[in-house]
């Protein structure tokens, strides 16, 4: 991670489904090379037809949502495989935050490592924001703030709609994301502990590091 993230602002697209899996987020077609444009492949299976043409009805193809920065989705977002490309595809498309009542474990971890805010919201919050989005097919802009862990809506045309909700993220993750910590550097501060641990394990459980594997005589 190089730069920290403090807020994400922009249009929110609704994916009113639970169990959205990583194969749906980035179909394997886009994983064949190290250099594919993953942003283009985001939700590729539903975004394009068999000839590669955009399907107009798909949310991210609609003019109001082409520049979406946020996604609202139902339970268990990012289930399926460990492919981090699912997070890269979202980020490369321009998504900075996904809000959902729950996330799959590996996706959740991958998200933080790529500065993608994965905010957990209450089911009631999900329902409220969803109904607001359904009432605004032309798109609405939201503001996600990591300091206050809130997502807010200020609607210039209808101040009645000015609303604010909380979301959850582990405090340590929030701080790391705001600072832009590099996790490997943090871990390498403990490099001596790691070396000691390996040495200790090698003598306590010699079978764990057999000579055939490590190529050394003990």
């Amino acid at each position: 991670m190089s730069n920290g993230v403090e807020r994400v602002e922009g249009v929110m697209a609704l994916f009113d489904r639970c169990d959205i899996n990583t194969d749906a987020i980035i179909p394997s077609t886009w994983l064949r090379t190290a250099s594919a444009d993953l942003g283009k492949g985001l939700f590729g299976g539903e975004r394009y037809d068999g000839q590669g043409r955009e399907i107009d009805s798909f949310v991210l193809n609609q003019p109001a949502f082409r520049q979406s920065r946020l996604i609202l989705a139902d339970d268990n977002f990012g289930c399926g495989s460990s492919r981090e490309a699912a997070v890269w595809a979202l980020v490369q498309f321009g998504i900075g935050c996904v809000l959902a009542p729950s996330f799959a474990d590996i996706f959740y971890e991958n998200a933080f490592r790529n500065n993608l805010v994965a905010g957990i919201i209450d089911v009631e919050t999900y329902q409220e924001i969803k109904s607001i989005l359904l009432d605004h097919p032309d798109g609405l802009s939201f503001n996600v703030d990591l300091h206050s862990l809130t997502v807010s809506l200020s609607d210039p045309h209808n101040p009645k709609h000015n609303r604010c909700w909380n979301f959850r993220m582990p405090a340590s993750r929030v701080q790391a994301m705001i600072r832009g910590d590099d996790e490997i550097s943090t871990t390498l501060q403990h490099h001596e502990d790691i070396a000691d641990f390996y040495k200790m394990k090698s003598s306590e459980n010699p079978w764990l590091f057999p000579q055939d594997l490590i190529g050394q005589k003990r």
Partner: protein
Amino acid sequence: MDKEGGLTLFDKIWNAHLVRQLDDGRDLVFVDRHVLQETTCAQAFANLRKAGRSVRYPALTIATQDHIVSTRPGRTEDSNPAGRELMQLLRSNALAAGIRHYGVDHPSQGIVHVIAPELGLALPGSLLACGDSHTSTVGGLGCLGIGVGTSEVEHILATQTLALSKPKSMRIVYEGTLQAGLSAKDLILHTIARIGVAGGRGFAVEYAGPVIEALTVEARLTLCNMSIELGARLGFIAPDDKTIAYLENREFSPKGADFVTACADWRALCSDEQAIFDRQIHIDCTQISHQVSWGTTPEDVVSIDGVVPDPLQVVDPARRERISQAIRYMAVQPGQKLSGLPIDVAFIGSCTNSRLSDLIQAAALVRGQHVAPHVRALVVPGSMSVKRQAEALGLDAIFRAAGFEWRDAGCSMCVSINEDVVPPGARCIATTNRNFENRQGPKSRTHIASPAVVAVAALAGCLPDSSMMNPNSELLS
């Protein structure tokens, strides 16, 4: 840290890998073995180089080409030009870092989760990580296998550790007896259908009970493989005599005096009687029948004599919508019987079901029969060593005579990022683990099942019912 009243097997293995606790509450755990595959590590090596870091313990890391490789017999790295870039990157990265590499031309090449047990890399009580979600497979040997993303691959390469929040513990106890002809695949599909694709989220799952004890090691690998389809990152089984017998004399298993010490340590690996689990589930196996998926998540599973559910009966609106969408995608009808549904492709392979025992089981069912004329049927062994063993038993001849393609090892039609793709709109029955939309190719339709069900389906040309699975059925006589 000790829980009052005893430790779970998971606590024991986890604690034995704890380097230290981190300030943010996570644990820094040591990774004993790290396995790489070509599609999830190119960026990790690139970032490592950019940061001027090197691979910490290359001897503890092993690389194999499996996902994107061609499975055409006699293939080389050039057989699938679309995958050449990632294959060559893995090879050159491994070579530069001094990491053992099992490329397409290596006699031990195969799917990561098939070769890790086969080579004796996955050992009871050890922690093995891989940039692939089905790493839990090695849990069948009592090894903690954890699937990680690419940033974590980079983290392990640089530090030989992972920073993780310790999951909670769940135990699933399988009681009763499994009916003849049923397999670990039916057990795990039934389990996922029952507790759902998020049922194991946040948990490390221990599978236990008399039914598990009776399973062979290969069947245990199949069961643990699909832990991720339960939403769990880790799934494992306490080691026993079968585990020890399996591991003896494998290439990287401990030898001689080390093996004796290892066995003593391994025998102590079990949950204490008083251990408390955060969640415990009991499953009576007596009633379980052959399972097949009808929809687009691994919980959309019923008995092969079952019917497609009716979304109108589903109370939760989000679930109702998901099921309706699955029904549309799969081109089935609510209430429709699954048996008799015509199939176009039958695939036996993947890290779930491509080991020798799977192939033996399927071959016994297709011997002397022929695949239905409209069906493309393939067998893709999980590793080149499985392939050689199967050929020594004459299984290749049985499959070929029955009209199956007999291919080289790789992930193949499980993920279809090589050239083995199910055509748009076609219906495939597969021994794989995921039936997501577009998984086996754009607009492909997947039904997941055991090797036995897939073999019989290939012959019948349609999803079978349980009468066809009967060894005395006309189809199999």
